[in-house]
């Protein structure tokens, strides 16, 4: 990987951090909590983007993987012994392990199998929480004890903004720091040899296999990386929501994540973040719209999923590249129009080359 790419990613990360501080310090505690939500959705969606966009596999069970991360976090925080960073890492590691088992089974034959296996996971995991009632709290779930804000952290924030750190602001910071670290790692991975391998497998598995890429291993690895992100996302979710219960990890969560990824544009981390933002802020908007036109509370609550579903379908039908992809494609066409003579004699035009891994729009900042 070129050093310049790494530097660019780090530069963007620092820029992102500045924006995060500015936004979190200038918004209310309620908004802080919403931004924490956006962070955990963004982390999980980023992982799903890697899997679906770069490797062409569909997961319908990332919500369940988030549940694994969240429950692990809740259990670890009951003892209050590990530092928070360690809790996040362990939660992610446990999810990775379970993701690896699923990935190994399903990646031998991708396509519908991985989708079906992850769907089964999404439906199965809440049942596990119910079965192990004593350990996992059954229907009520587990309360999450969010650790106190460390002194040095409070000092640092006070130094920057002269404001105190509330619990929800602290969680929002933890979430966004996790997100930035995750995205830098994912972006570098996507630009690395491994990322090119994944794209090669997605675009033409026969060609990839001939080129000596072990298909199964590439798919499993993509799934594992993606599961790690989902686990971390779940951990941040536990901190944000402060309770982990089966009802928080329905199939709808998994499908919403997929919506975020498809909406933003498959394979684009920027798109995943954009999708996460929509998932966070859209429900409130459409629910209040529903109340305005005279629907009941319960009915209005159904509008958000309705909008997700319709968006999912419409994006695939009308703009399969997603928002970010479509904007990029338009921008690129304008560039071409400006620099090239458009009427190439067709007989001499080169056949559209097999997509070379390097020039993929999916390779993201």
């Amino acid at each position: 990987m070129a050093r310049s790419v790494l530097l660019r990613h780090l530069g963007l990360a620092v820029l992102g951090l500045v924006v995060v501080v500015l936004v979190l310090e200038s918004t209310s505690a309620f908004r802080n909590a919403q931004f924490a939500t956006m962070a955990y959705l963004g982390i999980a969606a980023g992982g799903l983007t890697v899997l679906t966009g770069l490797n062409g596999q569909l997961s319908l069970g990332h919500g369940a993987l988030m549940a694994i991360g969240a429950y692990t976090t809740a259990l670890l925080l009951q003892d209050q012994q590990l530092p928070l960073v360690a809790v996040l890492l362990v939660a992610s590691a446990v999810t990775t392990l379970i993701g690896a088992v699923i990935g190994v089974a399903a990646a031998r034959l991708h396509g519908p199998y991985i989708a079906g296996a992850t769907l089964a996971l999404a439906v199965a995991v809440p049942g596990v929480a119910l079965y192990f009632n004593d350990q996992l709290g059954g229907e009520q779930g587990l309360n999450v004890f969010v650790p106190d804000v460390p002194g040095w952290f409070a000092d640092a924030v006070y130094f920057l903004s002269a404001q105190d750190v509330s619990g929800s602001k602290y969680v929002a910071y933890v979430g966004w720091l996790s997100l930035i670290v995750t995205f830098v790692l994912l972006a570098n991975l996507s630009r690395s040899r491994v990322g090119r391998t994944w794209r090669a497998v997605r675009d033409d598995e026969v060609a990839a296999e001939i080129a000596g890429i072990p298909l199964g291993r590439a798919r499993v690895l993509a799934f594992v990386v993606s599961a790690a992100c989902a686990g971390l996302g779940g951990a941040v979710m536990a901190l944000t929501v402060r309770i982990t219960a089966p009802s928080g990890f329905t199939l709808t969560l998994s499908l919403s994540l997929l919506t975020a990824v498809v909406l933003g544009g498959l394979g684009s981390l920027t798109g995943a973040l954009l999708g996460a933002a929509l998932l966070t802020f859209l429900p409130q908007l459409v629910t209040s719209l529903g109340l305005d036109v005279g629907l009941s509370d319960l009915q209005s609550a159904q509008l958000a999923p309705l909008v997700y579903g319709l968006t999912l379908a419409l994006v695939i039908l009308l703009a399969p590249a997603g928002i970010v992809g479509s904007v990029r494609a338009r921008w690129r066409r304008q560039q071409e129009r400006a620099t090239h003579d458009y009427d190439l004699p067709t007989t001499t035009a080169p056949p559209s080359p097999a997509r070379t891994p390097g020039d993929e729009p999916g390779g993201d900042k």
Partner: protein, 292 residues
């Protein structure tokens, strides 16, 4: 002994329902290489159609027929309006579309019919009968369940094996381009295939609902069980789907009876993974599976 027998009987009855659902998935998979995840909410909403009809004081059978017919129409409409436009695009697009439909139908059902649990009638008794001292868990509705699925399967076999239309449908499924060159209206065959699949799916929706509760998510686990059953059978084979459904039904019934009903979905996941690891082409395959 009594528990063993009854678990087995319950499993076989459930297995027939999973078999029907798996068959619905296989019908579509064979022709269009799409797993229609929206099959579950489609069956859910047609059951609500039946419930609405029954609530309006019509007989169970009017509701039953209305559900099957609306399934037929819904399947055809979805193929025509939603799936047809992405034909020839990467399959992942079509699958994501079915997931979009999944969410949409769910939300629409919750908006129209509410999210609370509602009880759904059964046309026959849901109590087992007594043989001497032994209480046999084979209910009137259970017999109806098995019988109706068997009838539907025989009708499908008759259609596919015995009629010109069935031959053309199979040709379109096996080799789209050649079928087209021979003059088979491939698009119509696909529409019909989706319609039939949705009809079979609706039947399984009605059977699962019978004598039990319905709510917008009540079919969600059925799509998992149907999928696992279809994979057990090899995904390409209707006969395999039926056998896979029965095997899964019995296995899950034992898990539910002896371990805990909460773990049924986890057991299905476990079975799926074992099959994928050991016999990825399904239980009955000899050749290597088609890789897609």
């Amino acid at each position: 002994m009594q528990q063993l027998l009854n678990t087995l009987l319950t499993g076989l009855t459930l297995g027939m329902v999973y078999a029907a659902f798996a068959l619905a998935l296989v019908l579509i998979w064979r022709s269009t290489r799409i797993i229609n995840f929206a099959q579950a909410p489609m069956a859910m909403i047609t059951t609500y159609v039946a419930l609405t009809v029954i609530d309006a004081d019509y007989s169970y059978w009017v509701g039953f027929t209305a559900a099957l017919l609306s399934g037929l129409v819904l399947g055809a409409a979805i193929e025509r309006l939603v799936i047809r436009p992405v034909e020839g695009k990467p399959h992942i697009n079509a699958v994501i579309l079915t997931l979009g439909l999944f969410i949409v139908i769910h939300a629409v059902a919750a908006l129209l019919f509410g999210s609370r649990y509602r009880s759904f009638p059964a046309p026959f008794g849901v109590r087992g009968f007594q043989v001497g001292e032994v209480n046999v868990a084979l209910t009137g509705f259970g017999i109806f369940t098995i019988g109706s699925v068997v009838v539907v399967m025989l009708l499908l076999v008759a259609l596919f094996r015995g009629t010109d239309l069935g031959l053309m449908m199979r040709a379109a499924a096996f080799n789209q381009e050649v079928a087209r060159l021979l003059g088979v209206r491939v698009g119509r065959m696909f529409t019909l295939g989706w319609a039939l699949a949705a009809l079979v799916g609706s039947l399984s929706g009605l059977l699962i609902a019978g004598g039990s509760l319905v709510h917008p998510s009540y079919m969600d686990s059925a799509v998992v069980f149907g999928f696992v059953a279809a994979v057990l059978g090899g995904l390409d084979s209707p006969v395999g789907a039926v056998v896979g459904g029965l095997v899964l039904g019995v296995s899950l019934s034992f898990v539910s009876g002896y371990v805990g009903s909460e773990l049924v979905a986890l057991a299905a996941l476990g079975i799926l993974m074992v099959v994928l690891l050991l016999r990825p082409g399904g239980l009955f395959s000899h050749a290597t599976p088609r890789r897609v």
